[in-house]
Structures are given as C-alpha cells and as structure tokens.
C-alpha cells in the first residue's frame, strides 16, 4: 500500500471502482459540498474535488476535499499546474497528506483563456507529468523537487487524467506510458461516448501492458438533455458525442431518462473491456443522479475494504 486509501484498496484488490465528480461551488458555501456528500454517500468509493474546473474560480479544492472528508466521503483532490508553481503544489501535497487526504489527481489544467479570468497570468511552471514525477519522488524518495530531503513524506495515491481522444491520436498511449513511468497509480479518463474508439485505445494500452501497471478508470458523462450533448460535443475539449447518441437524445421522450440509460449502458460496456478497473461518473451539476446510475449499473452496494 502506498497511501492506504479506500480507492487504492479497492483497485489493488481488483474490484471495480466507482468514483464521481463533485464540483465545489462558486462561493464560500461549504454546505453545498456537504449536501452533495449526502447524495452520494455509500454510492461511490471516492469523489473528485475539481480544482478551479474549466478555469473558473471556485472554492479551493484543498478546502473542499477536507469538508468532503469530514462528511465521510473519501476525496480525490485535484491539483492543476495552471494556478500553482512547484512551491505551492508541493506545499499543498504535504498539507493534504497531513490532514488525511490520500488520493490526488494531478493535471496540467484547462488554459485560463477558456475560463472566467482570461486575462490571468497562467503559471504552468510544471506540466502534469513533471508534477506526477515530483509527487512520486516526494512520497517514495522523500525528496523535494530540488532534491532536498524531507523527514515525513506525504502519503499519496497518485492519479492522472487521460483523454484517449485527444491528438495526435497515435501519441496518446505513449504519453500515457510517460505518466505511468512518472509515477501515476491510477488514471481517470475523459468521458467516453464512443465506445468503439475507446476500445481501440484500450487495445493499444493493453498491447503495451500498461493496464497491468496502472489502474484505469473510464470516465462517464450522463447527458441531461440534447443541449447538453451538443454542449459537450462542441464546447468540452476532447469529448465527441457520436451521431447515434445525438439521435437517441433527439428521439427520446424523456431526455433525462435517456441520458441515464446511455450512462448505464456505457458503464456496462466499459466493464466488459479488459483492463478497465472502474468508472468515474462526471454528472456535472447533476450529482443527484449518481446513485440512480450506480444502482442501475448494478454496482451497489459498494464493497467495504
């Protein structure tokens, strides 16, 4: 065990993990997080706290993760390289470990230009791979990025993100491999709509044996409406909704139910793919649907480890 978190245990045991996304509010309200915690309690193994997601200012991921933990849900604290330099990131990792946060997801982050402060100065001191490498050295070698030693290293279960559909397509798997070499323990992928393409990617992942070196958790985005499908397709980077799903959303009499249905089907399909060890449900501002999806996908109850 590297960190001993719930998520780590489930994955190490080879059980099918379920995580979901829990976005902090654009305010100082801790209650929002507590409310969300109530909805998903017992339905997921851990929940991701996003870090100024989409480059829009929100309550800090460190604080939100702490509140979530207090509410009895294991947080996956997301940390981006956009807003912090190597000093801040290391200090946050130490702090997180100190308060008991174990799971972290280290990302480069969406560019500030796409968010609500486009004039901001982006930091990007490190990229995600350099962050992962740094976190692993802190944990395993007790070394800061500059090589200095520390007494008490952080206990971290290091996650990384991957978008199988980004480009150049043929470079995605080599890049994943770089993250694994850098020290990623688990991978949460971008939302999967096109199972066929995802399968192709997984085949390439397996061909390199990466599925044995890292836990791969497939992303699922439930679609609330046809508009949401369009939004995801056009506006969210790295996600493409296939025409067949558009058709389904268009024809559905109850779009929300259809969205849930598609999400459940996606989970079922992901489960069948060799090397996929869990699902990460990104119900953006629609967290209340997570229990229903998890239940319908036959993933309840969640194992106790």
């Amino acid at each position: 065990m590297k960190a001993g978190s719930n998520l780590e245990k489930i994955l190490e045991k080879g059980q099918f993990a379920v995580t979901c996304e829990c976005g902090p509010p654009k305010s100082a309200s801790g209650d929002v997080i507590r409310q969300k915690a109530k909805m998903i309690k017992g339905k997921v193994d851990a929940a991701n706290i996003t870090d100024n997601q989409a480059a829009i200012v929100r309550l800090s991921s460190f604080a939100a993760a702490t509140i979530l933990m207090q509410a009895g849900i294991e947080p996956v604290m997301q940390v981006t390289a956009r807003d912090r330099n190597r000093l801040a990131i290391q200090s946050d990792l130490l702090g997180a470990s100190a308060v008991g946060i174990r799971d972290v997801l280290l990302l480069t982050g969406d560019h500030q230009k796409l968010g609500n402060h486009p004039e901001a100065k982006g930091v990007f001191d490190l990229d995600s791979i350099q962050m992962i490498d740094m976190a692993r050295r802190m944990r395993d070698e007790r070394k800061f990025q500059n090589g200095e030693q520390m007494d008490v290293p952080p206990k971290l279960f290091i996650g990384a993100a991957e978008n199988p559909l980004a480009e150049p397509a043929e470079y995605r798997v080599p890049r994943l491999e770089k993250k694994v070499v850098a020290g990623a323990d688990f991978i949460q992928t971008q939302g999967v709509f096109d199972i066929e393409r995802f399968e192709k990617w997984m085949a390439a992942v397996r061909a390199k044996g990466l599925h044995k070196k890292v836990h791969i958790i497939g992303g699922v985005v439930p679609l609330k409406s046809l508009g949401a499908a369009k939004f995801v397709n056009d506006k969210v980077l790295g996600m493409t909704v296939p025409d067949s799903l558009f058709e389904r959303m268009k024809k559905a009499s109850d779009a929300k139910a259809e969205g849930v249905k598609i999400a459940v089907e996606t989970i079922e399909a992901l489960r069948k793919i060799e090397g996929v060890q869990g699902v990460h449900i990104m119900a953006i501002e629609w967290e209340e649907k997570v229990p229903e999806i998890v239940e319908k996908a036959g993933l309840l109850p969640r194992p106790a480890v």
Partner: protein, 223 residues
C-alpha cells in the same frame, strides 16, 4: 526580429496631449521591417498629430526623424538636436528603443507609440508569428526546431495536453498545437524517442523570472 504594432491613435493622442512640439522618432531596423515604426509610419503618425492639432485649433509642430536603431547609444545620440527642440519624444521603436531614448534624454518625456508584441518571423507578408520567448535555455534540437515554450500555450515540456484537437490548440482553434507539429516533425525525422523521455521541470529563473537578465561575452569585456 522584434515585432511591434502601433498603439491606437486614441491612446497616442491621449499621451501626447498638451505637447505642441513633438519629435516623432522612427527606428530603421526591426520595427521598420515589421511595418510598424519605419519612416513611412512616422510620416503617417506625424500627419495624424498635425490633423489633430489643427482640429483642436492650435498648431502642433511635428518633427520627423528615423534613425538606424534606437537600441544603440551612438545612433540615439544622433537625435540630440531634434530631441532638444521638442517638448516630448514619441518613439516608434520597440520597448528597448523607447527605454534607451528615455535613459539618454532624461529631461524629456519619451512616449511609446508602439506596443512591442513579439519576436518572430512573417509567415506571409504582414503576418508575423511569435516563435521565440528568449527563455535562455534552448531545446529546439530536441523538438524538431519547433519551440514549445513559445508555441504551446501552457509551455508544456512533455507532449500535448488533452486539449489538442485536429492539430489545433485548445486556446484557439486557429492556432496550431505546437506539440502536434513537434510530434509529426519528429515522426518524419524518425526521432520520436525524444518525446518518450520525461523532460524535467524547466529552469524558469533564466527565462526572465528572476529580474532583468544580462548577457555577457566575457572575453570581450575589458576593465
């Protein structure tokens, strides 16, 4: 080459307000080549200042002059007489030139007529692409001659982020993803091995994050 563009006339008029004798100083090198601050632009701007003055009902005396380079003391020294006769110098040089003129003529207000925008080359006539940030630690030999420090919006060192789509950057669908360019270039050169190695964090101190940098050619400096 250093590339600049003229500030909006409105902004220039605002900063020249109250001066009735203005020396518009062009620079004959980079900003001439990038069509921003050469002799022709000097005369256009001068004419505008005069039009504005006349419109306000008083004559603005504008003197034009373009020197070889505003970034060299010897050349800037040549402007002496024109600077002396003016109430303010409106420099059409890049930021470097403006500062040197200001330093050499401390008694005169020196006003920047341009915004210095980038270092780069023209991709076609009148369109310039930034391709160097003077980071002080060149890695172009490893990236197929394409600079990720300049051309990747996140200055990534280890390949494209998840936002690379259709060979374009997530920040702007008109901009090429630098890493997609690098990937295909290295692939064509059969040098993809470089991209599989993890590149360590970059030294940003020498990239200008530690105050003004200085370049010294030691053997040429005599006490």
């Amino acid at each position: 080459m250093i590339v600049g563009e003229r500030k909006s006339v409105t902004e220039i008029l605002e900063m020249t307000k109250g001066y009735d004798r203005i020396f518009v100083a062009g620079c004959g090198t980079c900003v001439t080549v990038c069509l921003a601050g050469g002799e022709k632009e000097v005369s256009v701007l001068s004419s505008l200042l005069k039009i504005n003055g006349k419109k306000q009902g008083h004559e603005v005396k504008v003197v034009e002059g373009t020197i070889e380079r505003q970034c060299e003391r010897e050349w800037v020294g040549e402007m002496k007489d024109k600077v002396r006769d003016a109430e303010a110098v409106l420099s059409m040089a890049c930021g470097i030139g403006v500062q040197l003129v200001a330093e050499m003529y401390p008694e005169k207000p020196v006003l920047p007529a341009l915004n210095t925008t980038l270092m780069g080359f023209p991709t076609q006539h009148a369109i310039w692409l930034e391709n160097c940030r003077a980071c002080g630690d060149c890695i172009l030999h490893l990236t197929g001659g394409i600079c990720p420090v300049t051309r990747c919006a996140k200055q990534l060192m280890n390949g494209p982020c998840g936002g690379s789509q259709n060979g374009k950057c997530e920040v702007d669908s008109q901009t090429d993803c630098a890493w997609a360019l690098i990937y295909y270039k290295l692939k064509a050169m059969d040098r993809l091995d470089w991209m599989s190695k993890i590149q360590p964090p970059k030294r940003w101190d020498i990239a200008g994050h530690s105050g003004p940098r200085k370049t010294v050619k030691e053997e040429e400096v005599v006490p």
